[in-house]
């Protein structure tokens, strides 16, 4: 066998071995367990648990905050709380807070809708500091209770930033506009009649009356 033929055979052998080694390496990579395929040790995943927790939290929030505040949260996704005057009464001409779930509390001036500051605050459970967060509505409830009970302490504990740090000021201004529209519609005399009719029906357990009132309003 000539040297040239031997070289060609050797090259073909090397190429064949390299091809087989590459195929084997690919197989090994494929068969390696990927992170998303790994199951947590012990217990199964329950995709509905967060939803159930949130449902419970919403029911609790509804039972504690004022009716207007609950409807605001249900319809708009946040609660507006007016700041407290020194004598403890709500100050309509003073300042207010917008409470968003798991987002900073935004302080603003209701007169001009000027944004004042963002207060970043969170409620981390000391028993599970790196675990899951409170359900959205529980986070809102905790902020609401703190503002109502110890507003100054909450503000002291929070990290204060200028508007725009975490929340888009344009989005907040849109929310304030949505809030104004929501209040305008809500305070219409027809809306008030509708609500009072619905209340009377619910108290009496008469569902037919609810439909009657709604249909009357629609006409």
């Amino acid at each position: 066998m000539s040297t040239a033929a031997f070289s060609i055979l050797a090259l073909m052998a090397i190429a064949l071995i390299a091809y087989m080694a590459l195929g084997r390496a690919r197989e090994m990579v494929r068969s390696r367990p990927r992170p998303q395929q790994r199951r947590p040790a012990g217990g199964t995943i329950d995709p509905g648990s967060e939803r159930r927790a949130e449902r419970r939290a919403r029911a609790l929030l509804k039972s504690i905050v004022n009716r207007e505040e609950w409807e605001m949260y249900r319809d708009l996704g946040f609660i507006r709380v007016l700041g407290q005057t020194p004598d403890g009464r709500d100050g309509p001409a003073g300042y207010g807070y917008l409470i968003y779930p798991h987002k900073p509390i935004v302080a603003y001036l209701p007169e001009s809708n000027s944004l004042l500051s963002e207060y970043c605050v969170e409620f981390r459970d000391p028993e599970a500091p790196y675990g899951p967060k409170l359900p959205d509505s529980d986070d809102v409830l905790a902020k609401w209770m703190m503002i109502k009970a110890e507003e100054h302490k909450l503000i002291q504990d929070a990290n204060m930033h200028l508007p725009g740090r975490q929340l888009d000021p344009q989005q907040v201004r849109r929310d304030l506009w949505r809030l104004a529209e929501w209040e305008r519609v809500r305070n219409r005399p027809s809306a008030r009649v509708s609500r009072s009719g619905r209340d009377a029906a619910i108290k009496g357990g008469d569902i037919v009356a609810v439909n009657t009132v709604s249909e009357t309003q629609a006409q």
Partner: protein, 82 residues
């Protein structure tokens, strides 16, 4: 009176329930109240103002501060700068 705790990922759970007028129940409630505060929780009581009907909340640091007619005491993690 019911003690509720806001739990991450679970919503509220009932910690204790009882009538503070009964001495046994009161003892149990006081113990649970202290235990929760020792764990680093804050306690708030939802209240309704008699004159206006407005719903408010008060923070309590001692069981003696809980209004006698309160239906619920809510325990939640302390606020910290986020």
């Amino acid at each position: 009176m019911r003690f509720l705790r806001l739990m991450p990922g679970r919503g509220e759970v009932v910690l204790a329930e009882g009538d503070p007028q009964l001495s046994d129940d009161e003892l149990r409630l006081v113990e649970e109240f202290r235990r929760q505060l020792d764990l680093g929780m804050w306690a708030a009581v939802p209240i309704e103002q008699g004159a206006t009907g407005r719903r408010e909340a008060v923070m309590v640091k001692d069981f003696a501060d809980v209004p006698r007619d309160a239906e619920r005491v809510i325990f939640f993690p302390r606020a910290a700068g986020g």
